[in-house]
């Protein structure tokens, strides 16, 4: 896979998912990790985590993906690939406003959202088979889930606490 193919792939996935970062995870997992094998699961998760704990859109983790594969040109082109469709859409917004109220479009976007949830959870299980192999990893997983979902903690704080917990468990177990 070359840089242009990666950029086109990310632009396509971004369009398909309406720019939703987490929904792109199963798509990137299938094409970059399992398909062409240019990326590892760990790299994908690392890129996603960086984007979650730093300011900016959730789908900007693809810039890390581009950077890890092709350096700075990769980061710039993948960022453009996720930003440009939004600007291209501006002249078409008037037409979209009419379409937005169509029951067909509402049904289509709802169908995409619903399917995305199933796909993300399937990707999580696939990744978890390789990532959650130790008890300490499970503890960090559940702790982060509780901190962010139940206690509504900021992702950065949750990651910091989970990191300390992971290090302590690693020494202790």
């Amino acid at each position: 896979m070359n840089l242009w193919k990666l950029t086109l792939l990310i632009a396509l996935f971004n369009l398909m998912t309406f720019g939703n970062g987490p929904v792109m995870i199963p798509l990137l997992q299938t094409h970059l990790v399992e398909g062409s094998g240019v990326f590892t699961q760990d790299q994908l998760l690392y890129a996603f985590t960086i984007a979650r704990v730093t300011p900016g859109q959730a789908n900007f983790y693809v810039a890390s993906v581009g950077y890890m594969l092709y350096g700075m040109p990769g980061a710039i082109l993948t960022t453009l690939a996720i930003m440009l469709p939004g600007y291209v859409m501006i002249p078409l917004l008037r037409g979209y406003e009419h379409l937005r109220h169509s029951d067909w479009i509402k049904g289509f976007t709802k169908g995409l959202t619903v399917t995305s949830v199933g796909l993300i959870l399937a990707a999580v299980i696939q990744i978890a088979r390789g990532a959650l192999t130790r008890p300490s990893a499970w503890v960090v997983f559940v702790a982060t889930l509780m901190m962010t979902q139940l206690f509504k903690w900021n992702a950065l704080v949750a990651l910091a606490v989970a990191s300390v917990l992971g290090v302590l468990l690693h020494w202790w177990l």
Partner: protein, 83 residues
């Protein structure tokens, strides 16, 4: 330490994103059936997620459009009755 700290935490963040995205998917409905089918097709039958996503959109346009329209009308009526 990366596999012990970052990977499990990243997975948890992805799960949280999925939970936020599909608030109404986790109740028994046609949406939960669609999400379950996408999950099964991707995990057990290893179908391409891009194609599943498009298929989900098309099925949504055909099946969910009436349900969503009905729901919206109900919400509007409720709002009207409230004011």
């Amino acid at each position: 330490l990366l596999p012990i700290i970052i990977m499990p935490a990243a997975l948890a963040l992805i799960v949280v994103a999925a939970l936020k995205l599909g608030k109404d998917v986790f109740r028994p409905s046609s949406k939960s059936v669609m999400a379950g089918a996408a999950f099964a097709f991707a995990l057990f039958l290893h179908h391409n997620p891009a194609l599943l996503l498009l298929a989900g959109g098309v099925i949504g346009a055909l099946v969910l459009k009436d349900i969503e329209a009905k729901k919206e009308r109900g919400e509007k009526q409720e709002k009207g009755a409230g004011t």
